[in-house]
């Protein structure tokens, strides 16, 4: 609880600093807030294992996902500084909103009560609607905001209907010590809750908003959407299924396999013909979400590390690629695939960082993405579904086509005569760290095992 209070205070401070002349203080305050929040979470955990009358728990998987959320925020915040919207006048607002959305994410991953889960989803989503429409004068950004808002509110209503059915069928909002009164209604309620979360996670067939929103939103906030929302959503799903794995009917798992396969299939097919790189990565995000969902089959607390490892690999690659797109878009004014032609000759660091991120998405050996896919498919094979393993393997290989089509662009020489350009060393250093971590986790996957299990 203390960690959330610390984050709230940091967020309010950031909002107020935005009004004053001391805008350079916003970033240090926000980053200190995130660090202090992490410290409060891990050092006071023993005092309050359970918060708010047991409505939130810190035992087990929540602590892993909260750590991931805070680490991800810590990486994103410095890049906000380059987002100069009309001279950086609104930096305080956006920093504050991101910090508040992280509180929503923390509530989602540590919920033990559907009331908290619903509130967490809303706190996170409402913040994201604002961020999607951050470029007020740009019509694409407006369109992204309204599409995200309508679909998000619709998904929240469906989720809430699931909460209502759950309440009818069990007589309580608690997700542990369940006393099932109406078994059929209970399974349906879990399915509706799952559908509501699948909307937020952009799993096919609930994915149709994602490409538009990812393309239209300002790139730096697309990075936030692709990482923070996915971590929080999968953390919430994990917490939900961890308690209910023993009760739900078998057909829920068939539903899950169906959604995972559909996500991988539709994401891959649609990604083939994209010309906008942001749109391509949004479809690739749908494919990755399908892979992560395989890790949820027969959810148990021991599976935390597998889901968390996939999320770490996905977040590292996502952050690196969206930041690179951001810098290229800033320089050339578009995220079209043609703008990346000859990137290696103009800015070698960005090209290499993007290449490593893309091969990690694709699952090439020696990267974190390969090990993550290996663990997940190993898990699927352990439950005797060789067909699932085979199909996902084929789809993973097929996805290489569009990743390498993009990588090929970086290394073909460009005749347009764009001079080589550079970004400041601080950002370059952070991008290199993201790539090195991707490679390190690919070579030595057990390096973070103690942190995420």
């Amino acid at each position: 609880m203390l960690s959330m209070i610390v984050l709230t205070v940091a967020g309010v401070l950031a909002l107020f600093l935005g009004f004053t002349k001391t805008k350079s203080l916003i970033l240090p305050v926000a980053m200190l807030g995130v660090l202090a929040s992490a410290a409060a979470y891990y050092f006071y955990q023993s005092l309050w294992g359970e918060w708010l009358l047991g409505m939130m728990g810190t035992f087990g998987s929540p602590s892993v996902f909260v750590g991931l959320l805070l680490a991800c925020t810590f990486v994103i915040l410095p890049f906000l500084n380059v987002y100069k919207l009309r001279g950086g006048g609104e930096l305080g607002d956006f920093t504050g909103i991101i910090l508040f959305s992280v509180i929503g994410g923390m509530m989602m991953v540590s919920h033990q009560d559907l009331m908290i889960l619903f509130l967490g989803i809303e706190i996170l989503s409402i913040a994201m609607y604002i961020l999607a429409g951050a470029d007020r004068r740009v019509i694409q950004s407006n369109e992204a905001a309204i599409k995200y808002f309508i679909m998000g509110a619709f998904a929240s209503a469906i989720f809430l209907f699931g909460v209502g059915l759950y309440y009818v069928s069990t007589g309580s909002f608690k997700i542990f010590d369940v006393k099932i009164i109406a078994p059929e209604l209970y399974s349906i309620s879990i399915l509706v809750l799952f559908a509501g979360l699948a909307f937020k996670l952009a799993l096919a067939p609930f994915h149709f908003w994602a490409p538009d929103v990812y393309q239209g939103a300002p790139t730096i906030f697309t990075a936030v959407m692709a990482t923070l929302v996915k971590i929080a959503g999968f953390g919430a799903l994990f917490q939900l299924f961890r308690y209910h794995a023993g009760f739900v009917s078998e057909w829920i798992y068939w539903m899950m396999i169906l959604l995972a396969l559909l996500s991988m299939l539709i994401g891959n097919i649609m990604a083939f013909s994209q010309t906008s790189v942001k749109r391509l990565l949004s479809y690739s995000g749908i494919v990755q979400a399908g892979f992560i969902l395989i890790g949820f089959l027969h959810t148990r607390i021991e599976n935390t590390w597998m889901v968390a490892y996939y999320l770490v690999a996905y977040v590292l690659a996502s952050l690196a690629s969206f930041f690179v797109i951001y810098f290229v878009e800033n320089k050339k004014g578009s995220d079209d695939i043609g703008e990346f032609k000859g990137l290696y000759y103009q800015n070698p660091v960005l090209a290499v960082v993007f290449t490593i991120a893309l091969v990690s998405f694709g699952g090439v050996p020696l990267t974190a993405g390969f090990m993550a896919k290996l663990f997940v498919l190993n898990h699927a094979a352990g439950f005797g579904s060789p067909a699932l393993v085979l199909v996902s393997l084929v789809l993973a290989v097929a996805s290489m086509y569009y990743y390498f089509k993009l990588i090929n662009q970086f290394y073909t020489s460009d005749e347009s005569g764009v001079k080589s350009w550079d970004i400041s060393w601080g950002y370059k250093g952070m991008l290199i760290v993201l790539s090195v971590l991707t490679l390190f986790l690919g070579l030595y996957p057990y390096g973070i095992y103690p942190w995420i299990s």
Partner: protein
């Protein structure tokens, strides 16, 4: 005994409340899918949320468990926050495009 639930409400079976709220929810769901004006779509989402509120309150009375009614308070607060942000987005779009029809949003596709 003014804090007792009136007899007339107990006379209606709980299933009827659940069915009524489900029907209301489906009405809102269909509205979201077929209506063209963003503000009407938005109202349909509110109908969906309020349908669930009806389900929660009636179930709360049926089980004599206060949690459902507390949840209704949270839902209403959340709906209010959603209205604030949603209307702000709609106003922003109206300023730029001079329309709130869903068909004008066709710039992003591929």
């Amino acid at each position: 005994m003014e804090n007792q639930i009136p007899e007339i409400f107990n006379a209606i079976p709980h299933t009827h409340y659940v069915l009524l709220s489900t029907i209301l929810f489906v009405v809102g769901l269909i509205g979201v899918m077929i209506r063209k004006n963003v503000i009407i779509v938005f109202m349909c989402i509110e109908i969906m949320l309020n349908a669930v509120n009806l389900m929660l309150t009636s179930t709360s009375a049926y089980y004599s468990h206060a949690g459902g009614q507390i949840m209704v308070f949270f839902t209403m607060a959340v709906a209010a926050a959603e209205v604030a942000v949603g209307l702000a987005i709609i106003v922003m779009i109206y300023k730029n495009l001079h329309s709130t029809n869903i068909d004008v949003f066709q710039r992003l596709k591929g």
